[in-house]
């Protein structure tokens, strides 16, 4: 393990491990509002069929999940539950924030009970704009996340350091689009 933490593992092994993680995104569906239905459509509708990309929507328990898609409006009452659930997930874990509400509060920006953005509670890897985003948008979000995972370095991940998008150095190799959309 020491070798991994120093980032000294052979390239093919890193590739294989990243490749496995990339195509084995067991997804916990944190369906909250309208976006949850579009997420459901992306998963269950044969037209979108997110399973094609290796996103497996089976786990009903966060303990077995790698990816959590927060889709919909997060309220202040719900926020502690989300935080707790995120902490229940084992590392390495990824978060997709789907829809305007999850990104920033969306149409409820002035509400007294809505949390203005999931990223106030948990770190987010990919933001998907839209109200609600079409299922295709979620598919693209997943693809962007997969690109990131493929290019991930094992060292920081195993040391438990947060991966920060846009930080100079660590993720310069990412495709332009990934950084642009994921930090949009």
């Amino acid at each position: 393990m020491g070798l991994v933490e120093q980032g000294k593992i052979p390239k093919p092994l890193t590739w294989l491990m990243n490749y496995s993680r990339k195509y084995s995104l067991w997804m916990y569906q944190w369906g909250l509002a309208c976006c949850a239905i579009e997420m459901g459509a992306a998963l269950a509708s044969p037209r979108y069929d997110m399973m094609r990309l290796g996103v497996i929507p089976f786990p009903a328990s966060p303990r077995q999940a790698d990816l959590i898609v927060v889709s919909g409006t997060l309220t202040d009452k719900m926020a502690p539950a989300l935080k707790r659930l995120y902490e229940q997930m084992p590392d390495p874990k990824y978060v997709i924030s789907m829809g305007s509400c999850a990104n920033c509060g969306g149409p409820y920006w002035d509400s007294y009970s809505v949390t203005k953005g999931v990223d106030q509670i948990i770190p987010v890897d990919v933001y998907i704009p839209g109200c609600p985003p079409r299922p295709e948008a979620l598919l693209q979000g997943v693809v962007l996340l997969q690109e990131r995972i493929q290019n991930e370095e094992m060292g920081p991940r195993w040391r438990g350091e947060p991966i920060i998008v846009g930080q100079p150095g660590a993720h310069d190799h990412l495709p332009e689009t990934a950084v642009a959309v994921s930090s949009a």
Binding site: A36, E38, A41, S45, A60, T75, K77, L85, P107
Partner: protein
């Protein structure tokens, strides 16, 4: 079904005494916290149940995890902005949400939408009903353990969403209604396409019927489970298909006519059972009926404009209006109070699911945990519609 007043009062009294203490309980009973995020609650409902083995002794639904403060937000928004917002109350049938609010505005302003707009509104309302119910039919299977129907539900729903998208430009939240009519006419070829798709809807209804109706296990899981007597349901304000499944012959489309429903001949389906199976069955029939209404209306779609003459900036004169309609989930109403500004003064949103779910403490007493799931699925609520 015959429950006397006295019996009902007894039920209610008992429930009120017990349901409240569900959270603080003795040690011997197991308290299970289902939700707020649980596969069965399709959304963020939380049910705290006191268990004796697998039997529910008391249940206390905790709502509000999706409360977004709609009624407050509407006070800060202009009429078009409110229309945008209220699409997202019952997100499965957004178009149907808009209609009563627009009606309330039109009523206070004394405007009538042109007949073509009224017809198209009716068609789109029924289409959103079909989309909602198709998802229900699939979801119901999934909740009792059959995974496949939900995929069929999503697949067939997609056809209907396509139609809504083609007409309104919005797949999910059309925001197509304006005070005085519609934003646009339907595109060319849409009517023929809709007719064709209605055939698909009939087909998929048959599929669901074949998949689940003849299935012994499905019947065993739903028949006699979660019986709502009509009288009790009315007292709780249960409405829509849930109430019709309890044998109450009450459909606002027929009994408080609005849109083009008076001009359509349709059947109001009821079932005397009151159990989960009846609710499933009634919705299945209503899906077919909705498709029939759509076909019928399309045959007689009048020509003409789709927008009445209204000022560019909508200012609704002082007044108040209460409009309720038969949404897919039940009775949805808006009590709009206007003081003559560009935005409403107060909007009370009466949403169907809130009342439908308020019966849960009464209904869940004494059922098994698996039945709890069946009941939740068959009541069919949308969290946004409960919490607003």
């Amino acid at each position: 079904m015959a429950v006397t007043e006295q019996q009902q009062q007894a039920f209610i009294g008992k429930h009120l005494a017990e349901a409240q203490v569900a959270v603080e309980l003795q040690d011997e009973d197991m308290v299970l916290n289902i939700g707020p995020q649980h596969p069965a609650t399709h959304g963020t409902l939380r049910v705290v149940v006191k268990l004796d083995g697998e039997r529910v002794v008391a249940a206390d639904p905790v709502i509000g995890y999706m409360h977004r403060g709609y009624e407050k937000l509407t006070e800060y928004r202009s009429y078009p902005q409110v229309t945008t917002l209220i699409n997202r109350i019952d997100w499965l049938s957004s178009f149907a949400n808009e209609v009563p609010f627009i009606h309330a505005g039109e009523q206070i302003m004394g405007i009538e939408a042109p007949p073509r707009a009224v017809y198209i509104r009716t068609v789109l309302t029924e289409l959103s009903r079909i989309a909602t119910f198709l998802l229900f039919l699939g979801e119901m299977g999934a909740q009792v353990g059959a995974i496949t129907p939900v995929f069929y539900g999503f697949r067939d729903r997609e056809y209907v969403l396509n139609l809504i998208e083609a007409a309104t430009g919005g797949r999910f939240h059309p925001n197509f209604n304006r005070i005085g009519g519609l934003k646009d006419d339907v595109p060319a070829g849409w009517i023929a396409e809709t007719r064709r798709m209605m055939d698909k809807v009939f087909e998929s209804c048959d599929t669901f019927e074949n998949l689940l109706e003849g299935n012994e296990i499905f019947l065993a899981r739903t028949k006699g489970i979660g019986i709502i007597p009509g009288d009790v349901g009315k007292g709780y304000g249960v409405s829509g298909s849930n109430l019709r499944a309890s044998g109450v012959d009450w459909d606002l489309r027929r009994d408080a006519p609005y849109l083009a429903y008076p001009e359509v001949d349709f059947k109001v389906w009821t079932h005397p059972g009151g159990d989960s199976w009846s609710r499933y069955w009634v919705r299945l029939q209503e899906t077919r009926e909705a498709a029939r209404i759509v076909v019928d209306l399309l045959d007689r779609l009048p020509s003409g404009p789709v927008m009445a003459k209204v000022p560019r900036i909508i200012k609704v004169p002082p007044g108040e209006s209460w409009v309720r309609v038969e949404n897919p989930l039940g009775e949805m109403g808006y009590y709009v109070v206007s003081k003559g500004a560009t935005g409403p003064f107060r909007v009370k949103i009466r949403s169907a699911s809130f009342s439908n779910v308020s019966i849960l403490p009464w209904l869940l007493k004494g059922v098994y945990v698996p039945d709890l799931i069946t009941i939740l699925a068959s009541l069919y609520f949308i969290l946004g519609d409960i919490d607003r």
